[in-house]
């Protein structure tokens, strides 16, 4: 490992002074941080098995280089232990993929934030939460990995509200937005395996989305699907107007009930795509900005399903293809599911990358 240059550090006399320095210099997101001492940062870099100077690319919009060293500093600040660091790196590699359009996700007026979904045995090994309260607090791994990513976007990408991050509302996931998919209590293939990773492997998927919308989801498959399709096609979300991708989180009891009645994940996805729709009259009723949205996206070929639709009774799906509806199993065994609408066809698309542990 290359020793980090002295120029990348400074000396501070006391703990309290150091904590306040991070606020004074704009190096934190509003919450205090774990102080990134050389010892902690070097342990983080060592855990990656990679050179501190290696770069994963320039983080938009301010294009600071995402070197392993700088990412390690931010991972320490977020509360990560060295064993978390390969997950942070995999998530960054995913966010930097062009289809995720991190530049746009960071700067849009929409509230989307990149959600990190950890899949594979590593989630249980590192005590990520994939069960009750999965989007909530209480678990270091979810919180620390999620916060490390946000701090790196803040410090290296310049994702700062009113400067480059123009989100009108945003959501609390700007502090940390990381869940794990339930591996054991899940009748279906997990998301990362569906997306090409080997069964039993570890991977992360990132997807830019709104915060979780609660869906009271119980009963027969048909009853669950009835409420899910309604929640997914709310006129307030971007998918109805601008396509793109969306995420549905079913709890393990929901998934078990579907599987027990013979529904595969593909069956559920296909049904959701066929039935999560709104009429053109509904869309037009939202006003002219939505029409402009639609036209702009049709013109660039990103919403071919909206082409040549003139009848007010015609219905349009929330995504162009069934595969653009992502389904994850997580949460407690109760009667609630969640829908997390995406940004639309502007980007934020799901990207999956393997977790490389040395």
């Amino acid at each position: 490992m290359r020793r980090m240059e002295l120029a990348e550090s400074l000396h501070v006399d006391g703990y309290e002074e150091a904590v306040e320095m991070f606020y004074d210099r704009g190096w934190t997101d509003g919450l205090p941080v774990v102080l990134p001492t050389r010892k902690l940062v070097e342990a983080m870099v060592a855990a990656s098995g990679r050179d501190a100077g290696e770069s994963l690319g320039a983080i938009p919009p301010k294009n600071g280089e995402a070197t392993i060293g700088k990412l390690a500093v931010n991972a320490v600040m977020g509360g990560c232990k060295p064993e978390h660091f390969p997950i942070v790196l995999a998530a960054f590699e995913a966010m930097m993929a062009p289809e995720h359009n991190l530049n746009g996700v960071t700067q849009t007026t929409h509230m989307c934030v990149s959600l990190t979904i950890v899949g594979g045995p590593i989630a249980r090994k590192l005590n990520f939460n994939s069960r009750d309260g999965v989007f909530g607090n209480g678990y270091r791994s979810n919180g620390a990995v999620g916060r490390a990513l946000r701090l790196a976007l803040w410090n290296l990408g310049g994702a700062v509200p009113w400067a480059t991050d123009m989100a009108t509302m945003s959501h609390p996931g700007e502090y940390a937005f990381c869940i794990a998919e339930e591996q054991d209590d899940n009748p279906w293939e997990p998301l990362h395996v569906e997306r090409g990773c080997a069964p039993g492997s570890d991977a992360v998927t990132v997807f830019a989305c709104e915060g979780p919308h609660s869906v009271l989801c119980q009963g027969t498959p048909e009853e669950m699907l009835h409420v899910l399709t309604d929640s997914m096609s709310s006129l307030g979300n971007n998918n109805v107007h601008a396509g793109g991708q969306t995420l549905v989180v079913l709890n393990p009891l929901n998934a078990e009930e579907f599987a027990r009645r013979g529904w595969s994940k593909k069956d559920v996805r296909d049904y959701l795509w066929e039935n999560s729709r709104r009429t053109l009259a509904d869309v037009k009723g939202c006003g002219i900005i939505h029409e402009g949205f639609r036209k702009a996206q049709v013109d660039v070929g990103r919403m071919h399903f909206r082409h040549n639709i003139d009848s007010p009774k015609a219905t349009v799906p929330v995504t162009n293809r069934p595969e653009d509806i992502h389904i994850v199993v997580a949460g407690g065994r109760t009667y609630f599911a969640a829908v997390l609408p995406g940004w639309g066809s502007f980007g934020g698309y799901a990207v999956t990358r393997p977790i490389r542990t040395s």
Partner: protein
């Protein structure tokens, strides 16, 4: 205690915008259209042509919210001036 710095030090000096619009007369100007508000961009193009005498080459980004592709940047770089961002 030694604290590692989480940011890169600012190295490049900020660019100062030139405000002499007479330079636009007969100059080839690349207008990078973000494809998000066509009507507004039409107005900007008209103003560049009629008020300032520019020769406008309009280059349309495939996706307004993503950075321009390299080919578009290279085409814009052949012009004397490039308008790379507009806003209401």
């Amino acid at each position: 205690m030694e604290i590692m710095i989480p940011v890169w030090e600012q190295t490049a000096a900020p660019q100062i915008a030139r405000n002499d619009l007479k330079l636009l007369k007969d100059a080839e100007v690349a207008l990078v259209d973000d494809n998000l508000d066509v009507a507004f961009t039409d107005q900007v193009e008209l103003k560049l042509r009629e008020a300032y005498g520019a020769i406008v080459k309009r280059l349309i980004k495939p996706l307004g919210s993503a950075p321009s592709p390299k080919s578009l940047l290279e085409e814009a770089a052949t012009c004397r001036v490039a308008v790379v961002g507009i806003g209401l």
